[in-house]
């Protein structure tokens, strides 16, 4: 569902998404100058697919240069920036509140509700923790990131 929305968005931006079989299963997604390649056989679930696509879109928006060599610090920074972009794209604070209002409590349910993998959700919460500190106030809600919890204020 979210995957298709992302695809539509990319189509409007003029980014091509190709599904290609790489022999290596470690290589799941690739971004090259306005072309996103998804290694579909290495991706197990629809959720994972969404997360990987979002990260590649993050590269489209934030990355410049060849960053394949992750031993280089500046490349790692760019990788992180792209991932952070993906976290904010798929899991916005508003969506967390929306899930809370829908009665979602456990992290498994939450990842299910958001349509992302649990790993991705945990990393997103870690990112928000880095960004906002332990908690952030959004409208009438107080969101704690570690441990995760949402409180509805008066």
């Amino acid at each position: 569902m979210i995957y298709n929305e992302l695809l539509l968005e990319l189509d409007e931006e003029g980014v091509e998404v190709i599904e290609h079989r790489f022999c290596s299963h470690g290589l799941k997604g690739l971004y090259l100058d306005n072309v996103i390649v998804m290694n579909c056989i290495a991706i197990a679930t629809e959720k994972e697919k969404t997360c990987i696509l979002a990260e590649e879109i993050g590269h489209y928006h934030t990355t410049y240069g060849n960053i394949l060599d992750q031993k280089n610090v500046s490349n790692r920074k760019q990788e992180k920036r792209a991932r952070n972009w993906a976290y904010e794209k798929l899991i916005s604070l508003d969506k967390l509140i929306e899930a809370y209002e829908a009665g979602v409590r456990s992290s498994y349910d939450l990842s299910d509700y958001l349509g992302v993998t649990e790993d991705f959700l945990q990393n997103a919460l870690k990112h928000y923790h880095e960004k906002y500190g332990l908690s952030v106030k959004q409208e009438d809600y107080l969101i704690y990131f570690n441990p995760f919890g949402i409180f509805h204020g008066p």
């Binding site: 290596s24 690739l30 971004y31 090259l32 990987i52 960053i67």
Partner: protein, 186 residues
Amino acid sequence: MSIGTRIKSFRKQRGLTQVKLAEKAGISRSYLADVEADRYNPSLSTLMELAQALGISVSCLLDNREIDFRNLVGACKEKRVSLESLCELLKIPDVSLELIRTNKLPDEDTMLKLCNYFNCTWDYMIGKTNSPDDIVFDHEVKPIAPNYVPKTIAAHFENTEFTEEETKEINDFISFLTSKRKKQQT
């Protein structure tokens, strides 16, 4: 035009007889006659001697294309000088000027003077290319398309380093994309 007829036309342009040219190039008249009639393929060293005797470069003998001084005329216009005053300035003899006017190759000295003056290549001067700093080696060689190198590459992968196989796969995919884009362009 075959190489024999080209040698002959250059010789005629310079007002030389077969005997004189053969003497200058150090070959026998009968051999020169055979070369001009395309009965023999002259060796490279013979060609070089002939070119020297004619006061031109070997490439002029080999090149099939007609010489055309439109670039020179254009460059003159740009500098706002007439061909005559240019020749006076560069001390180019009237004979050479006449050759240029009739789109025939003047002697090497004149050509070098012109190329230096306009700061361009020989090939540009005789109209083989439209770019002043271009050299044409062989008109049948197609220009090599620059290799497509993606400006931005990023991958989602699980390990921190690529194996050789993965690197190869990525490179293969880049070349696949390159060929695809080329096809789209044409």
